[in-house]
Symmetry: C2
Subunit: 202 residues, 2 copies
């Protein structure tokens, strides 16, 4: 007999395409899916289709949303003239969890990376420039990742937005809270030193 | 805003029900599924539904199959009078990989486990007894896992089948005790098969 009957082999193949799911995990998941009720399996299957169908990009901030514009872009309690630029929708979730930020977002869906063939036109930079040019924006906060790609993207966007006279800022880099100075890498420590501020905020 | 838009939250919920998939992994998988094409997502979704729809239990050996009876039970080249009793369909795959076994199978879909509330009637033991009583079976090989539950199940079935005068054997403990048949390597499993002994050591 073949290793698996065709429908099972197909399911294993499809599951193992997902990130972090190897053949062994895909087998385990496939057998789990066979063991649960038809209803349960249908729920998962439909959740996949419905997520793909109902979730789209917000026409303003480009974040994932099921209503257009998204609930952040239409929230009157948020400062619509402050834009925080992030690389991915996951970063929006992370920022929201801080309960610190009351402005709005712009999701780039990536960072400029010549190595991976991702240029400025492959991510949502043009949408950001148009947004800044057409609206009364007071500040754009660059919250791209502190990687080579993230820094380059922040600098590139900064140069594009400078002519609009908008305030441009970059989130601080330094020692993580709860972290240990001893184990911090040199670059982070150097950044923390450069970014030092007055102890008493005078 | 809520942490996630509803269709995404639902997808994360459904994904995190799967074994070995925590919230973090479910998030990663959900964002992956949003990033791929509609076609790709549809393929996975359909593979789940089709596996559930097209795969059923073989009326003879109770293994997963898309044709009834399954290709092993209808294979004239296999010894239809030797039955290897295993706990799960995964064990059939593992046994087949040894290329050592030429008989047929009986899949119990579990082992007797009073701790988990699994009694003899919750697994495919009655089907096995009926099969042995109605057919000319010469040997039944117990290949349940070498765990407390697997041993107990083998002994229980052995006692039920003894009156039929069929030869009863148990695969050898070449497999580490406490281990799982599914993860045994082919050589160990083949050794265990060759070294099988009478269940009652007569």
């Amino acid at each position: 007999m073949n290793e698996y009957v065709p429908p099972l082999a197909r399911l294993v193949d499809e599951l193992s395409k997902m990130p972090g799911i190897g053949r062994k995990s895909a087998h385990r998941l496939a057998f789990y899916l066979l063991s649960i009720s038809d209803d349960e399996a249908k729920k998962l299957s439909e959740a996949i289709i419905s997520a793909k169908k109902d979730i789209d990009l917000c026409p303003i901030c480009q974040n994932y949303t099921d209503i257009k514009p998204c609930s952040i872009c239409t929230n009157a309690k948020r400062q619509q003239n402050i834009i925080c630029v992030v690389e991915s929708p996951k970063d929006v979730i992370a920022m929201e969890k801080t309960n610190e930020y009351k402005g709005v977002y712009h999701v780039l869906h990536g960072a400029i990376s010549p190595m991976e063939g991702i240029g400025p036109d492959n991510i949502k930079i043009n949408e950001l420039v148009r947004r800044v040019s057409e609206n009364d924006i007071s500040e754009v906060i660059m919250a791209t990742n502190p990687t080579v790609e993230g820094e380059a993207t922040a600098m590139y966007i900064g140069k594009l937005l400078k002519p609009f006279g908008v305030k441009l800022s970059r989130i601080a880099h330094g020692i993580p809270v709860g972290g240990d100075l001893e184990f911090a890498d040199e670059v982070t420590l150097a950044r923390a030193l450069i970014g030092r501020h007055n102890l008493f905020n005078e």
